[in-house]
Symmetry: C2
Subunit: 134 residues, 2 copies
Amino acid sequence: MTTVEECSAAEQELPYNVFSRACPSRGTLEHVTGRWGALTLGALHEGSFRFNELRRRVDGVSEKMLSQTLHALERDGLVHREAQPTNPPRVDYELTPLGRAVTERLMSLIHFVEGRMDDVLAARERYDSARASR
Amino acid sequence: MTTVEECSAAEQELPYNVFSRACPSRGTLEHVTGRWGALTLGALHEGSFRFNELRRRVDGVSEKMLSQTLHALERDGLVHREAQPTNPPRVDYELTPLGRAVTERLMSLIHFVEGRMDDVLAARERYDSARASR
DNA sequence: CAGTATCCTCCAAGATACTG
DNA sequence: CAGTATCTTGGAGGATACTG
């Protein structure tokens, strides 16, 4: 039984507020934005994939972490798991409608960051050299 | 000297690709989407704040983690630190234009997740009860 | 106030081996 | 192929004390 802890932003009448420690939305946000969660959703944004296809797309993920990540996303209703009871087994993963909507916003963020990496790297050099000369 | 490792998506001619293990964009994405990075940017989206004001807004963050997070975001050029050399010291943090653009996309994601938490919680109950009955 | 310094704990995540 | 099980460890992150 999950009780929703007090986490509403009283003034604005928002039921869920990620800035509250106890709010379950913080957990879901972490599934979505966590290192492997974000990359897995990103991979699934391009279509439906089998377990090992996903592993190859998400460079560096281990079997364990991919499995764990997929379970969390499935539990949150963002990913659908389609298993054929054949031998050898075939399992396909794809985004649910909710997952697609979430991932759309995530990809907007990812693509924007990718597109501005030159600015980021320049800022880093400025920051580092300002520190080196002290 | 930072050399940009090979991380471009060759076909699409994108210079940076977060799905490559070695690409620096993956690091920046983690600063932005990490637990404390996301919440700190979210807090700064509402304006300029002092260190301890931020601490209070980001429920649960420790001094150490907030300090560390702000440094990373400042280094990436997303946050500007304005220090007055008074006594007692006064330091204000605010988003840079780049930080604001990134945070806009982040907030779109956060608000969407917050708004669909009822669906997420319902999905969890379905998932859990389907597992309990086996 | 705005942090840094230190110590310590615990768990996310990697490595490896195994299974239906 | 699509995972689970077990073991281990680096490092994220908390607690506490201290400083300009």
